[in-house]
């Protein structure tokens, strides 16, 4: 504890790390879902987030809709977008193996980045709300309102996805199919349809993450790639394919970054995150939270 001047500072750092981590977590949930169901590392996830952020920017700019309300528009639009992307591209390519889908995702990323650059110019954009810079105090700890809102939104979104997976037939089918595709078929489940739904939800989660992004950060078309990388680390922490694990993994990553940037140096924070990530991969390949799989 000698690293920290006071306990309050320590908790402040933990809380800020959590807030930061939730951002990574939301980005990671979609990635994790898609990976769990289709074994596709969808590295364009961060770019999809930024696409959502730009959409929110337009909604705010042209229609003066509050960013939080715009979630209600973004989610259905991105669901449809995800569905189309799966049906139009990934279903076709997924038979050709993981390197092809990775390549496709990368191509999509470049394509979307440049489209956004073309449409919105490289100028950074931002959405300003009444709560952008407000904060309140609990004891000695300062809590940022916008980051709290994002954390709450992220929590709600995660819960909704979790409940969807737990409670609905489609959700159960998704979980079933990601475990065993053929048996799913034997039970009358169309695995392609289920994959399309999963993909759509994954993309919609990118939409939610995008809304969260524009509440906190100014952004430009290239802002998303870093989120893709961090989300990858987060799902490795949480165990590939698990939803709660993705969020938790994100939070762990956020706290780790905050702590190391306070105690060591912000410059090393990234390296420490990556080193921790590699260590986790080596010693617990199923993720910090995953259960060891039987090797049969």
């Amino acid at each position: 504890m000698s690293y920290f001047p006071s306990l309050a500072v320590f908790f402040q750092i933990i809380i800020n790390g959590t807030f930061l981590g939730t951002m990574y977590g939301v980005a990671a949930i979609g990635l994790s879902l898609i990976f769990g169901c289709m074994q596709v590392l969808f590295i364009a996830q961060g770019t999809m987030m930024i696409l959502a952020a730009y959409s929110v920017f337009w909604l705010v700019y042209f229609m003066s809709i509050d960013p939080l309300i715009s979630i209600l528009i973004i989610i259905p639009v991105f669901l449809v977008l995800g569905w189309i992307m799966y049906k139009g591209m990934f279903q076709r390519v997924s038979q050709a193996g993981p390197s092809s889908t990775l390549l496709l995702a990368f191509g999509l990323m470049v394509f979307m980045e440049s489209m956004m650059l073309f449409i919105w110019s490289p100028n950074i954009r931002s959405v300003k709300t009444s709560y952008s810079t407000s904060a309140f105090q609990i004891g000695d700890i300062t809590i940022s309102v916008s980051r709290l809102i994002v954390t709450v939104v992220a929590g709600i979104a995660t819960c909704l996805v979790y409940l969807f997976l737990k409670k609905t037939m489609t959700g159960k089918a998704i979980r079933g199919v990601s475990e065993d595709r053929v048996t799913g078929m034997l039970l009358g489940i169309n695995p392609n349809r289920v994959s399309a739904i999963t993909f759509a939800i994954g993309i919609a989660m990118a939409g939610v993450a995008g809304v969260a992004t524009c509440l906190i950060y100014p952004f430009d078309p290239y802002f998303g790639f870093l989120f893709s990388l961090k989300a990858l680390i987060a799902i490795a922490f949480g165990g590939l394919g698990s939803v709660g694990g993705a969020l938790l993994g994100g939070i762990i990553l956020g706290i780790l970054e905050s702590l190391s940037s306070y105690t060591i140096s912000p410059g090393w924070a990234d390296a420490i995150a990556y080193a921790a990530f590699i260590l986790v991969l080596i010693f617990r390949p199923q993720g910090l939270l995953g259960k060891a799989a039987d090797k049969v």
């Binding site: 037939m169 159960k172 089918a173 979980r175 079933g176 475990e179 065993d180 053929v182 048996t183 078929m185 034997l186 039970l187 009358g188 489940i189 169309n190």
Partner: protein, 240 residues
Amino acid sequence: MENHLLELRSVDVSYGDAQAVGNFSFYIDKGKIITLVGANGAGKSTILNAISKIIPTSSGEIFFSGMSTAGLKPEDIVKLGICQVPEGRHLFTKLTVLENLELGAYPVHTRPFMKDSIEKAFTLFPILKERINQSSGTLSGGEQQMLAIARALMARPKLLMLDEPSLGLAPKVVSLLFKTIKKLNNDGVTILLVEQNVHQAMEIADYAYVLQTGTCKMDGHCHDLLKNSDFKNTILGIRE
């Protein structure tokens, strides 16, 4: 033709260039138990998978209730009323018992009866009710097999196909299982049973087909076959 529930006419199935099933024909009538027996690799599971459309047939036709199933997808087959319990059970091990059962009633037309079907499943296999919220990977082998059958029954199949249900189960459990299968049949479910536990399968079945390397070597009523001296040798692969 109309009176057969399921009919296969000279079906061929190949994996790559290896023919797994050649020129296989058979039929099942409503309310019967038919068993396919034969050594490992004889092509029994392949036939089930071909009926379920998991693997394509290279030639021949499959009829269900007098209707050709050509061009249908696996999920359509389930909607028609054919359910398969795959070899090795293939439960969704991360899901709970209840969730596994619910997924059995995935086809839309079966969902209204879901609660009812679950009740039925629990009366059939009371042990499952005790494990209702346990994840299915933690069940014992016998319980898993029961769950797999119960799951397939959720879709209210007209034809239930069981692939090696006794695999890896203790003898006690096996006889219990076969009793249950017979009971199901008495309740009106037509059953296609693939088994290597020949004796017990033959005891409950009406008619049997003996397969060897993808072709039907002999067929007949079970009690006739059991008396046939060639039968044992065929099964063991001793007879050429």
